[in-house]
Amino acid sequence: MSDLVIETHCLQKQYGHTQAVDGLEMRVPRGSVYGFLGRNGAGKTTTIRLLAGLIQPTAGHARVLALDPRTDRIAVLERTGFVIEKVLLPSMTGNDLVRFNRGFFPHWSDVLARKYADALEIPMKQKFGKLSSGNQTKLCLLLALSQGAELLVLDEPTAGLDPIVTDQLLRIIIDDFAGEGRTLLLSSHHLSEVERVADWIGIIEHGKLLLEARLDDVRASFRRVRALGENLRVSGRKEILQTRTGEGTTEYVLRGNAEGFAASLRNQGATVLDVSPMNLQEIFLEVVEKGEANVPMEVLA
């Protein structure tokens, strides 16, 4: 069995003159919680639609659970829970939708559906079209979580939810789903949420993956170095992601080898004020701003 649950190679999707996904190389390890990050319009939803077989790639290919979504779409969908648009069938109540879904999935669990309906306080007798946007989202997630999928792909699952419900949902997703060793791909631009639950991240911009790595490695690798000094020779160093010059100080954003870099500055007579870690939000902003070609921090074995 492959260690990769999702794998794409040179995946492309073009709409007219717009390249929505542009040579995407993505690898989601089995059992991971993968935060798929990107700005609005970066290509996250298009990628997910390609993985679900809803749209056809212009070039390249994707494998989901070692299957091709173009040719083995039904087998992929039997084993994967997708929540893309948070729109179900407006004339059906929550109970109707549970009944509707039950027949499609061999591992469907009514027990789980009831449990989540109670835990998330979803009015199951109300028509989907009449539910609040938050309850609509919760119902979409309930259906995906109850289908007994090996892989869950959620596109912006917490958009429009209040912080308490978001917290509740994330706990359910992590404890009940990912906690059992199953794989979760979570697309979002709410970085604090992703940072809380993900163990892998991929950052997409203009349809290209800029960064894909274990979150701990990303945190350990990215550093902000502030130094005082003049005529410092740093050009050509590959670890520098960004350089900003202020009043007498220079700030470097580095990817890897921060200590070595700081030592080289000191050797040139500079004073290194601090070498500080960065949170995911800061890393995301720097990577997207830089927008350089994908340089994976860790290549999967």
């Binding site: 679900a52 809803l54 648009e85 729109v87 069938l89 879904n101």
Partner: protein, 256 residues
């Protein structure tokens, strides 16, 4: 489960239609047919094409209404991403939708033609019914049962055509505009059917409804020739629409 959804979506149309036709049936059963004294039995065939035509309007409306349900409506309501991430082929959704719609048309048309049969029987009895439930058309003895079957077949083929065209249009154009498009095509064809022979004599466009009888200007002179070929051609045309829908859906990107 999808069959259940199709039934759930369309059952109101079926129930209301059956209820209305049921009321009509009760009305016909309670009605005494009184014809003018010495009404000639031989003139009965004249009313048969009228029966065929009069059911075209309600049947077309119900078929058009049923055609607006299904995948096209769900795509229009942005439910496509949800529906097509259920593990079934797109062809499955099309044929379930289409099959359920056609299956719902059958009881509606059966009941409608039962009403027709009862009414014709009462007319036969009112004029003495000398041929015991039959009538002579073009020198041939034609039974009441055959007339009712012919009406039923013509109505089903018309309903199937309207329904399938509407269903295809809603998928092609994503619901709302599709319904208007389908209605526009039908009205446009009816218009052309009238206009073409007026400007180009000798050119007669095929009628939307199967023509069971050959008529002269003053009489019904026979049962149409090649009825089997006409029926087969219409069945083939009707089946082209779900096939085209399946093709369109399989080739299209579901981006909402």
């Amino acid at each position: 489960m999808y069959l259940w959804k199709c039934w759930r979506d369309t059952r109101d149309v079926l129930c209301v239609s059956l209820l209305l036709i049921g009321i009509l049936l009760v009305f016909v059963l309670r009605q005494n047919i009184v014809l003018a004294p010495h009404a000639p039995f031989e003139k009965i065939p004249l009313i048969l094409p009228f029966f065929l035509t009069i059911q075209a309007f309600p049947v077309s409306f119900v078929a058009w209404l049923l055609g607006t349900f299904g995948v096209g409506r769900d795509l229009g309501d942005r439910g496509g991403s949800y529906l097509f991430t259920r593990p079934r082929s797109r062809a499955y959704f099309v044929w379930c939708d289409w099959g359920i719609g056609m299956a719902q048309l059958v009881p509606i048309l059966v009941l409608l033609n039962v009403v027709l049969g009862v009414l014709l029987h009462k007319i036969f009895v009112a004029v003495g019914d000398p041929l015991h439930g039959s009538v002579v058309i073009g020198g041939r003895l034609v039974t009441l049962a055959f007339i009712v079957w012919l009406n039923f077949g013509a109505a089903l083929l018309l309903a199937g055509l309207v329904y399938s065209l509407t269903y295809f249009s809603t998928v092609l154009l994503k619901h709302a505009r599709g319904i208007i498009y389908a209605a526009g095509v039908l009205v446009g064809y009816l218009f052309l059917e009238q206009v073409v022979p007026h400007y180009w004599r000798g050119i007669q466009l095929p009628r939307l409804m199967l023509q069971g009888f050959i008529q002269s200007s003053r009489d019904v002179i026979g049962i149409s020739d090649h009825l089997g070929i006409s029926v087969a051609t219409r069945v083939a045309i009707i089946l082209l629409f779900p096939l085209a829908t399946q093709f369109v859906l399989q080739k299209s990107d579901i981006d909402r």
